[in-house]
Structures are given as C-alpha cells and as structure tokens.
C-alpha cells in the first residue's frame, strides 16, 4: 500500500509539474468604450498572479508565461470601470483579447493626474514632457483656442523668441535641430508665422511627447530635441463635431464612424477631419484699430484628415493627409508664404500567436516656401521627403524593446539671389538608411533603457553610430534620480541666417556641397552636424499631486553647420579665385555648447492648477574666428501658469500665464557711416556721389535687449445641454498690462517696433 501511495505521489508530482510547465500568453488592446480611443498606460493583470503590465501608446499589452488554464484578466484605468474577462490560456498558444473600458463618474482632472502618476511609475521622465489634450487646454488660449505652440513656451528649457515670427529654441538647439513628427511623419516647419499658432489642431491631438534632450534611439536625424505629436483616431461609435469662431480665426472638427464599433463587432472604420485657420489680417482692423499700420498680417489655414480602420483584434490601419498653409504679408515690404502637404499610412498589426507587435509607416511630405522682399529678387525653398519605417515591438513585464529600420529619401531645393543679385539654385537629393534598437530593462529599483542607432547618410557616405542610454533609479516611491545621454547627428541645414532673431523665411538644405571644408585649419571630411547630450536630474511625485523636478543638462554641439555670416564673395563669380571657404561658402562649420539647469513645479487639485518653470541656460558658439553667444541665449526664463475652476459645478475656469525672460543678445551698432563700398568690397570711383548708410557693427551679440515679460489671462464658461451638446465661451486678454516688449529697432531710423500690445479676444465653440 505504501508502495502504491508512493507511486501515486510521484505520478501527481510529475503531472502537476507537467501542468505547471505548460504555459501560454495573452495579449490585446485596451480602448475607451465610448469613443474607441486606445488607452495608454492602463494596468493589465491576471488574478492570482503578481505579473502586472501596462499598455503602450496604442493600448497594446502582452503577458507571457501564463500557466495554462482559465484565468481572470483584469484591466483597470483611472477614470474607467474595471474590465474583467475569463480567458482560457492554452499551452504554447497566444490568446488575444480586446478590452473596452466604460468611463466612470470621476472628474477629468483626477483622471489626468492619476494617469500622470502612472507615467511616473513606468517611464523615465528625464527631459521628457508628456502633453495631453487636457494639459494643452490648461494654458490661456490667446487665439480663443488652445494651441501646442503656446504650451511649448512654458516647458522648461524651451526659449521662444517672439510673438511675431518667433521661433523655438530647445536647450541651445535651433529650430532646424528640433525634430517634429506627426503620427510618424516629419513636419519640417510646424509653426506659423504668428508666434502662438502651430499647424496642429488641439482637437485632433491624442498626446504630444516632447524630449528636450537625451532622447532614445527611435528618434534621430536631429541633434537637439523631439516633438512627437500623435493624433487621435476618429470617434468609432458616434458622430461628433466642434465648430469654433474667435476674433482671430476659426476651427471645425468633424469625426465619426463610417462603420460603427459595437459590443459584438469591435471592428470599425472612422474618419476625422479638421480645419482651422485665421482671418486676423482682416479682422485686426475691426477689433484692434490701435495696432500699428502693419496690423497682424498673418494668415494660415490647416487641413488634416485621418481615416482609421480598426480590426476585431485591434489591428489598425490609419490613412493620413495634411495641407498646411501660411502667409505673412507686410504689404510692400515682405511677403512670406509657405505650404506643407503630405500624407501616408500607418499599419499596426500583431499576428495571431505572435509575441510581437509590428508597425509599418510610409509618408510623403512636401514643404515649399517663397519669400519676397522689396527691391530684392525672390527666394524660395523646398523640402520634400519620402519616409518609410518598419518597427517591431516586444512588450514584456521586465524587458521590452522596439527595433526599427527606416529609409528616407529627402530632397531640398533652395533658390535665392546671391549678393550680386544673381539667382542661385542649390538642389540636392539624399537617402538615409537607419536601423535602431531601443530597449527597456527593469531590475528592482533600476530602470535601464539602452539603445543604439545606426544612421547612414548617403549624401556624405557617412555612418553615424549613436549609442543612447537612459537610467532611472527609484530612491523611494516618491523620488527618482534620472539620467540620459546619447550621440546625435543630422544633415539638414537651415538657410536662415543666425543673425535673424525674427525670421519669416525658413529655408532648408541637405548635402555636403556649399559647406566650408576646413574648421580652424582642420579639414572636415563629413559635412554632418554632430552632438552629445547628458542630462541628470531628480523627479518627485508626492502626495496631493505635487510634481517637482530639477534637471541639469549639457549639450555639446561639437560639429554644427550653419548659415555663413562671413560670406563675402559670390560662389559663382569667384570659383577659381582661391578665396578661403569662409568667404565664399553659404554654410560654415561651427561648434557650440549649451548647458543649464531647469526647475519645474506642478500642483493640481480639483479646483486649482498651478505650474511654475524656471530655466537658467547658457549657450555659446565657436566659429572660424571667435566665440560668441547666439541671439537666443536667454539667461533666465520663467513661466507661471495658474488655473482655477469656480462657480456652480465648476463651470467657470480662470487661467493665467506670466512669462518673464531676460533680454536676448543682439549686436549693437558701433557707428554709422557713408558706405561707398558694395558687398564685394568693390569701390566707387566717384566719391562725390552719395553712398548708402553703412552700419559698423559692434561685437557680435555684445548687447542685451531689455527683459521680456507678459501676462495673459482667459476666462472660460461652458454650458452643457442635452444629448451632450455644449457651448463654450472664452474671453482672453493677451499682454494684459500692455508691456511694450521690443520686436526690433531699425538701425537707420532708430524706430522701435514692439511685440504685440494688449489684445483681447473672444471665442465661441459649439460641440455636438
């Protein structure tokens, strides 16, 4: 008997061991049940097991090595009811579920705040800013509509150079060094001539990830920063629309299902169309008669369309199209126009039984701009590119990775009048081949994200090998220490002069030609801009939703290609004259450093939203001859944002933003004189004739403009009607105390033109 029990025991042990070694996996997508939007960072767990994973930006999750058998899968997301489903896991097989979570009665603010806590738990926040539609709306909307361009201005480390034609400079990087993506497609010029409008309609934005330094290997081709905009998919259950009109412009968003998502059949086809634009050039005369004669001569129109096919199991195909236009028209003086057209597709699939998620994108975009100045020949620029990318995601609990390969064919054509008023064309094609691996490893309190990128630039026959690394160490549940570093490269060059504080014309160039060959007597073989970043900081996410962070950064732009301020001779006329490169070539090689420290404090309650950011930054450049500070080297930059909800059911919202920035550098005039020498150094024979007024410049950027400060406020009231209809009225005042911030001073007439004065705006929006 004893022998029989012993044998039975052995059999059970063996069978139980066999049972427990039989494992399968489960994966799936998590969506908002009302709109069908993917839910990022939702928790997915199996009852009775410790394993807990979170969904990625597409709502995708995967749990591996689940013992075979029936299990209860629970999906939870703050602001939504829990989702639970019994799933039968079979040995060696991959089960697939699609979870639709129903919204809970919870305030939006709480949901947003808790989602932020979840992000802090799972991601390394170093130099990373995740912006949701709700956070975009926390800034006073100067045009009566919130805009990404306004939000970016309050992010620590980002410097914005002005209300009119201002540009964004991120931790010492020029606009051309910022990579801007729209659903994976490069948008080479994402900001309109008027400083507080981007091409992105806030209504279509799902999320925006801004990396001000130390970004991972999946991004590249730029040496400073990344702005990654992801749009929502159109509503998969019902048609929705929003129409708005303000004293500045208009907006219209329509979305809805062509094939509706239902409980039984979660597949859908949805569409989303957006159009926004401005009529401020015409309306300024009516609403702002006190403006100077130039008024606000900016017009833009942005069209965006997206059709999304979502399969039963969450596979997704997005077709995207865009058409953005911009006009700045100072009649008789300057007329700048540009348009950006593009489109393509994004396909997301996780085949049955596969542990991987695949993403394929293909986009074509075409940017072209023209610039007309009185008495000068027109300039034009074109940048068009075909971008194809294939990515593979593996998302495990302790280890995950994304591997990708990419091919871009870029073309730039720049047409401009040379110093001798001859037309010159710079026309170049280039191919880029890229492969990268970004990984994520969690070991106890340590989160390590090593990455590597190989970027081949065919125009230079140059391979950039770029290691990247991010590390986060959790000191305790509230406090992290974060670090990031990496090497970066780019071949795109801006033809905008570094002297232009305000530039309405954004021209682009790729290719090794027309670039200085030597830098301080050293031959430079590869005409590629290169940089190294290092960032280290502390982040605290405490009780009562208090978020604090401090980050020190350094960026070494150890090779930069910029427009050449020393260019004296025409390339066409002097080809055989053996002048030094820096006197002939349109582009020059430089080096540069950017370093500083950024502080951020953010506190949210149901009624209050308080945000403060301070940046202390230093930017230097070294060209062929000298060290200097570029015109965007703002030493101190502070932003305070406050929001307060008041009234019955918190239907009123008061928002304010105050920006204080130290003066930008500028080059003073040492003196004026009668100039009888032309740009070539060729001289007049007759001194009795009248010359032009020449300016003898002081040391480059040796002076400082006065401090900039501005207060904007807005008051918003929303009325909600039956069937989900709502009316929103927003009254804003930009530059409330009418600070006269300098725009520019004419060196000859000494006439000072200021940035925009006090501007009240009123906006109405109707949502159905």
């Amino acid at each position: 008997m004893k022998k029989a029990i012993f044998i039975a025991g052995i059999f059970l042990m063996l069978t139980s061991t066999l049972v427990f070694t039989q494992t399968g996996s489960v994966k799936g997508f998590v969506y908002d049940a009302t709109s069908g939007q993917p839910l990022a960072l939702a928790f997915v767990a199996i009852t009775g097991f410790k394993t807990k994973v979170v969904t990625d930006a597409d709502g995708f999750f995967m749990i591996l090595k689940v013992p075979a058998g029936d299990h209860l899968i629970r999906v939870s997301y703050i602001g939504f009811e829990d989702f639970a489903e019994i799933v039968t896991i079979e040995n060696q097989l991959m089960e697939q579920i699609v979870a639709h979570l129903k919204p809970q009665v919870v305030t939006l603010q709480t949901a947003t705040v808790n989602a932020e806590r979840c992000r802090m738990e799972h991601l390394n926040p170093v130099s990373a800013h995740h912006i949701t539609q709700e956070s975009l709306k926390s800034i006073p909307g100067l045009t009566g509509q919130s805009d990404l361009a306004e939000y970016l201005q309050v992010i620590p480390g980002i410097i914005f150079t002005g209300d009119r034609g201002g540009q964004f400079y991120v931790r010492g990087g020029a606009p051309v060094q910022n990579q801007v993506k729209l659903d994976g497609m490069t948008v080479v010029n994402p900001f309109h001539s008027i400083g507080f409008a981007s091409v992105f309609d806030t209504e279509i934005i799902g999320s925006v990830d801004v990396y001000t330094a130390g970004f991972g290997a999946k991004y590249g081709g730029r040496t400073s920063s990344v702005i990654d905009v992801k749009t929502r998919i159109g509503n998969r259950r019902e048609f929705k629309a929003k129409a708005s009109g303000t004293t500045f412009g208009y907006g219209l968003t329509v979305e809805g299902p062509l094939k509706k998502m239902t409980e039984k059949d979660p597949s859908s086809i949805s569409v989303m169309l957006s159009n926004k634009g401005s009529y401020i050039q015409k309306s300024a005369g009516l609403f702002y008669p006190y403006l100077d004669s130039a008024g606000i001569p900016f017009n833009y129109n942005d069209l965006f369309g997206k059709v999304s096919f979502v399969g039963r199991k969450g596979d997704q195909l997005d077709l995207i199209g865009m058409h953005f236009t911009d006009v700045a028209d100072y009649t008789g003086l300057i007329r700048s126009t540009w348009e950006n057209n593009g489109g393509g597709f994004r396909f997301l699939v996780s085949p049955s039984n596969s542990r991987l998620l695949f993403e394929q994108t293909l986009f074509y975009s075409d940017y072209s701009g023209k610039f007309l100045e009185a008495s000068k020949r027109p300039r034009s620029t074109r940048y068009n590119s075909l971008e194809g990318m294939f990515k593979v995601f593996f998302n495990g609990p302790l280890f995950s990775f994304v591997w990708g390969t990419e091919m871009n064919v870029n073309h730039t054509k720049h047409n401009f009048a040379s110093d001798a008023n001859l037309l010159q064309d710079i026309d170049y094609y280039s191919t880029e081949l890229i492969t990268f691996l970004d990984s994520r490893i969690e070991i106890a309190r340590l989160l390590i994200e090593p990455g590597f990128r190989l970027h081949y630039y065919a125009d230079n026959a140059y391979v950039a090998a770029e290691p990247r690394l991010k590390v986060r160490f959790k000191i305790n549940d509230l406090l992290n220490i974060n670090f990031a570093t990496g090497l970066y490269s780019q071949n795109l060059v801006s033809t905008t002069s570094p002297e232009d504080v305000i530039s309405l014309f954004q021209g682009y160039y790729i290719g090794p030609g027309f670039v200085q060959d030597t830098y301080r007597d050293k031959y430079i073989d590869d005409k590629i801009s290169l940089a190294w970043h290092a960032v280290c900081g502390l982040s605290y996410y405490g009780p009562k939703n208090l978020k604090l962070s401090v980050e020190g950064y350094v960026k070494d732009y150890y090779r930069m290609i910029n427009s050449n301020r020393y260019k004296k001779y025409d390339l066409i006329l002097t080809a055989n004259n053996h002048y030094p490169d820096y006197l002939i070539m349109p582009f020059i090689i430089e080096k540069g450093w950017a370093y500083g420290i950024d502080f951020l404090a953010d506190w949210n309650t149901e009624s209050w939203n308080l945000y403060a950011a301070y940046s202390l930054g230093y930017v230097t450049r070294q060209d062929e001859f000298m060290d200097y500070v570029p015109h965007f080297d703002r030493r101190h930059n502070m932003n305070f944002v406050a929001g307060y909800k008041l009234g019955h059911k918190k239907g009123w919202e008061l928002k304010a933003r105050w920006n204080l920035g130290s003066g930008f550098p500028f080059t003073q005039s040492y003196g004026m004189y009668e100039n009888l020498v032309n740009n070539y150094g060729q001289f007049s024979l007759d001194l009795t004739t009248s010359g032009e007024i020449g300016i003898l410049y002081g040391p480059i950027n040796g002076g400082r403009l006065p401090w900039y400060h501005r207060l904007d406020i807005s008051l918003q009231k929303a009325w909600i009607f039956r069937k989900g209809h709502s009316l929103e009225v927003t009254a804003s005042i930009m530059n409330l105390y009418n600070r006269l911030n300098v725009f520019y001073v004419d060196r000859i007439t000494m006439k000072r033109i200021n940035q925009l004065p006090i501007l009240p705006t009123l906006g109405l929006s109707w949502r159905i």
């Binding site: 040492y670 001289f683 009248s690 010359g691 007024i693 002081g698």
Partner: protein, 325 residues
C-alpha cells in the same frame, strides 16, 4: 473690500508694466569719436579723391544723424596729404561739391579732398595722411597702386566698325585682357523694351564673372553661357510687347587693393579698369536669341536695333553697381 482688491490688482499690473528697464541701447556706451575715411586712388585717370567724415554713433534717427553737419567735419582744420613713392608730400585740396544726390547720404556740406592732375605710377606705394587737430586724431594708410588694365582682344579700335560672330560653337566669342591678375570682368546687355502701352525703354543689365580662359586673363562666351546670362538678368514681363537687342559692353576691373586706415576707420583703395563699349554681334546671334528654346520667352526680335541708344548707366562704371539695376 472689493474696491481695495481692484485697486491693488491694478497697482500690481501697473507695476509689472513699468518694471524692468525697457530701453534698447543701440550703441555701446564707450564708442569714441572716430574719423571715417574713404580714399580712392584711380589709375585710370589723374584725379585722386579722399572723403573724410566722422563715425556716427549718436542717439536719434540715423537718417537725420548722418546729415548732421557735425559728422562732416565743417571746421576747416582738417589737413589731407598724399605722399608719393619718392616721399614727396602733396597737400590735397578741399573742394566743396554740390549737394549730393541719390543714395541715402545726402548732405549739403559735400567736401572732398582731391588732386586733379596727379597720375599714379603703377605698382608703387602711396601714403595717405590726415590730420584733424579738432579731434586730436592723425590717420595714415599706405597702398600699392595697381597695374594698368587693358583689352588686348578685341582691340578697342576695331570694335567701332566690326561685327563679331557669337554663334560659332567651335570658336566662341571671347575677350582677352591684361593684366592676368584682373579679377573681374562684366558683360552688359543693352537692349530696348517695347511696352504694350506704346512706351519704349532703354535697358542695360550687367553680369559679372571671373576669368577662366587664356591663362586666367580672358573669358569665352559660347551661346549657352550667353543665354544663361540673358535668363539670369532679364525677367519675363507681360507688359513688354517685344524686345530688340542693341550691343554688348565689356568691362574688365583690375583687382582692387585696399589698405587699413591706421588711427581711424574706413578704407583706402586703388582701382583700375578698362572698357570696351558697343560690341556688335552678327545678325545670326539675334536670330538665335529670338528662336532658341532657352530665350524664346524673353521676346527678342530677330532684327537688331541699330538706332540711337541712350545708355541708362552711362555714368556708372563699377560693374557691381550696375548689376543691381
């Protein structure tokens, strides 16, 4: 209480609006009074000229400042001397010219220090000396004069009665000049625009380049190159009914040399140039210009213009000034 809050808020806003210095300092604080000198030694003629002014860095509107007599040294204390290679010092004479016209710098006190009949010896050193006791400044500068520039082909005397073949693909039209160091040549297209409203306009457009032919002292003009120049200089204009081509002018400009002004600011330079006016192409060029796919859009007639021509740029010799027209 509400009133107090309102007053307090208004006071804070007012405080913000006026806080921080808001003045743009366009000139450095330490900019001293400085002499600004333009000196021109012209090897082509015998007249040498020097303009002596003061660098302007006052506060106010620049266009007004630059016409302030103070910046034109109205006092008579300024002395200007030119020293030749033998060391002989000649005092330059202050000549008051009529009020300047054109440009932006138009002032009544147009004093030029000049020597009227002072031919230069090529390749020799000349020194400029300026003494301004009022400002307590002495300025000097030394320059080497340039070799003579001249056309050796076509010979200037032959141009008057000759027509040149511009359409030969084997032996294109070319110019040769001396010295070899001449840096810049220019070609001017002289033509007439017959406007749709009945007006006729004399036109002259100039293109400049560097030597690349015949030992770095000449340039050939084959037809594609010439048509490229036409296209760069002449733009389509719907108001033009048709155009008639007249002649070419060629100019060779010897490399200017310039010297630093010691003790002040400005430039002291030497120039030399040669001109070949009214080079007439054979009729085959006019036909090619009218019919070529590259230039057809410019609406040139097959028939050349041979009537009287008023040179719109007759007083401008510097190619880099005329090219901006």
């Amino acid at each position: 209480m509400k009133t107090i809050r309102l007053i307090l808020s208004a006071a804070i806003l007012w405080g913000f609006s006026v806080s921080c210095d808001n003045v743009v300092e366009m000139f450095p604080d330490n900019a001293p009074d400085t002499l600004y000198v333009i000196g021109c030694l012209d090897g082509y003629g015998g007249m040498q000229q020097v303009k002596v002014r003061k660098l302007i860095h006052g506060h106010g509107e620049g266009a007004l400042l630059i016409n302030d007599p103070e910046y034109y040294l109205p006092d008579s204390s300024t002395r200007v001397y030119l020293q030749d290679p033998a060391g002989i010092l000649t005092t330059m004479n202050p000549v008051v010219y009529p009020r300047q016209t054109g440009g932006l710098v138009v002032q009544d006190s147009n004093v030029i220090w000049q020597l009227d009949n002072y031919p230069l010896i090529p390749g020799q050193k000349y020194t400029l000396k300026i003494d301004n006791p009022a400002m307590g400044q002495v300025v000097t500068s030394t320059i080497t004069t340039l070799p003579t520039a001249a056309f050796t082909y076509p010979v200037p005397a032959s141009v008057i009665h000759s027509k040149f073949k511009f359409t030969d693909p084997v032996k294109p039209f070319h110019i040769i000049f001396t010295p070899a160091s001449a840096a810049i040549w220019s070609i001017s297209l002289k033509y007439l625009d017959f406007m749709t409203n009945g007006d006729t306009l004399f036109r002259k457009a100039t293109f400049s380049g560097q030597p690349n032919y015949g030992g770095n002292s000449g340039r050939e003009f084959d037809l594609p190159y010439l048509f490229m120049i036409f296209n760069r200089l002449i733009q389509d204009d719907p108001k033009v009914d048709f155009r008639m081509f007249y002649r070419f002018d060629f100019l060779v400009w010897n490399s200017s040399s310039s010297a630093k002004i010691n003790g002040g600011m400005g430039v002291f330079y030497a120039v030399h140039h040669a001109v070949l006016k009214n080079v007439c192409p054979m009729e085959s060029f006019n036909s090619a210009l009218a019919d070529s796919i590259d230039t057809k859009h410019l609406k040139f007639s097959r028939i050349p213009y041979n009537g009287p021509y008023t040179d719109p740029d007759s007083t401008v010799l510097n190619p880099f000034f005329s090219i901006l027209r």
